[in-house]
Every structure is written in C-alpha cells, then in structure tokens.
C-alpha cells in the first residue's frame, strides 16, 4: 500500500512514533508546538506594536531583533525563522507580501488571512501596490514613499505602523486594541477609533 492510500490517523501515529523513537520530537514537544501555534494571533503582534509605541527601549530592541523582542513578551519563537520588523515613518510606508508562497510571521500574527495567500494579492502587491492599497481604503498622504517587502526567503516580516495622532495618553492595552492584522501587513493603517 502506498503512503497516499494509508489511513491518515494511522499514518500520523506511525510518524509520531518514529519521531519519538529517533529522538527528533517527543509527544510533549509536539503538543507544546501545537499549543503555541494555536495561541498565535494578531493580538500578539498588536501587543508588540503597542509596547513599541510607548516604550522607546522596546522599540529599539524590536527594530534591532524582532525575535528577541517577541520572546521578551513571552511569545514562543523557538525553532521559527527570524522575525524582522519594518518601521513605518511619516514619509515611508511598508507593505508585506510573499510572491513565491505565503511566508508570514505566524508566531506574532497567527494564520495568514485567506487573501494573503491569493495569487491576486501576491501579484498585485508588487506590480500595482498603490492600486491595491486604494481597494483597502488606504490612501498614503502625498510625499509618502511605499516599500513593498517581498518575503522570499528565511526571514518573516511585520510592519511597525505609525501611532495615530489622537491617541496621546492611551494605555498600552487600549493602544493594542486598535492594532489590526492588516495594519501589521501594511494594507491598512491604524485608526484611533
């Protein structure tokens, strides 16, 4: 019988048994990895963004080494590709895409949204990024340069967006609540609502 014809539950059990027998990954490690994958969501990235908006030392660490910044907030990053953080500035906006597949910073943003993996998004993000942003209702102010970051290899990228002007004095938790998945991909920008 070929592997393709095998019962998937038996196949998984056999694979787990071999991984354990060879000392590659035990049941606890696999369970832990499943747990951290399930817990990953855009709320993790939003926590990082809100902290970077209020804590200059954390912001510096996040831009220098996204993986260490995430770990410092208790986000599990072990065994994952390095996390890079793209700093938006008043004159510079970033948009993330993976034209080759669907590379995505899952530890801090969770599973990629369906459109991120679509052929249409992947093609248009590099060829007509401003047209694409317009469809999201995102209009970059005059003078803002756009950098499209194609996540083609071993890094995973998230955007550190600009803090909205009308949020002075807000707590970290209140700030984190306005940061959306799309704000950290760059298709949208955070709104103080």
């Amino acid at each position: 019988m070929s592997v393709l014809a095998a019962d998937s539950v038996n196949l998984l059990a056999a694979l787990r048994a071999v991984l354990a027998a060879k000392g590659i990954a035990g049941p606890e490690e696999i369970a832990g990895q499943i747990r951290s994958t399930d817990e990953a969501s855009p709320a993790q990235g939003a926590r990082m963004v809100a902290k970077a908006w209020t804590d200059p030392a954390f912001r510096a660490l996040m831009l220098e080494d996204g993986t260490r910044a995430a770990e410092s907030l208790g986000i599990p990053m072990r065994g994952l590709p390095p996390l890079g953080v793209l700093e938006d500035r008043p004159e510079a906006h970033h948009l993330v895409v993976c034209t080759l597949c669907s590379c995505y910073p899952r530890a801090v943003l969770g599973y990629p949204p369906f459109w991120y993996k679509s052929a249409s998004y992947r093609a248009r993000a590099v060829r007509d990024p401003r047209g694409l942003l317009l469809e999201w209702g995102t209009v970059l102010p005059a003078g803002v340069k756009l950098t499209v970051v194609d996540s083609t290899a071993d890094y995973r990228w998230m955007v550190l967006p600009l803090r909205p002007a009308a949020t002075a004095g807000w707590s970290e938790a209140k700030l984190a609540a306005i940061v959306r998945e799309g704000d950290m991909i760059g298709v949208t920008i955070p709104l103080a609502s």
Partner: protein
C-alpha cells in the same frame, strides 16, 4: 566575506527552471534587474539544496532594494521593492 550595504548589484538572469527540477527563492521579476544592497540578513542553508534533501551549505542572504516602477514600467516614482536574495544570485555591478 559579505557584500557591503550600498553595493550596486544585478540579479543573475538565470532560469534553472528550464534545465530541470529546482526550488528557487529568487522571484522571476527581479532576475536580470539591478538594485542596491541594503544589508546582510545572515547566512542560511541554501534552500535550493534543502528542498532536495541534499547537504545545504550556508549562503549569505541580503536585502536588496529595487526601483518599483523601474521594474514594472508603471507605478509611483520613488516606490521600492525590498527582496531577500541569496548571494550566489547576485553579481556586483561595476560602474
């Protein structure tokens, strides 16, 4: 030795797809195009070998900035594409 930030580079105009099975992390749209090296991101196992379970030597990975409208013939002046490209795909452009 790694290439310095600011180095002008050209992505090789190479199409291994024509020669046989391969796994390449260099997008079609930058092949043969010139850009500016932004920084060395680190050294990573060559995915072209990893994909076929061959011994995969570490290769330098760079962030390379390309002029977006220059590549597509449309778009807004000053917009850029920032792409991860392995060193063995890059040639230094001599002025």
């Amino acid at each position: 030795m790694s290439l310095a930030p600011g180095t002008k580079v050209r992505v090789k105009d190479d199409w291994p797809e024509i020669r046989g099975p391969c796994h390449i992390r260099t997008p079609h749209y930058v092949r043969g195009e010139c850009g500016t090296l932004v920084r060395h991101l680190g050294d990573f196992a060559n995915p072209e070998d990893l994909a076929f379970a061959r011994p995969a030597p570490l290769r330098p990975l760079y962030h390379v900035r390309f002029d977006q409208p220059g590549i597509w013939g449309e778009g807004a002046a000053g917009d850029a594409l920032l792409v991860e490209v392995f060193g063995h795909w890059l040639e230094v452009v001599t002025p």
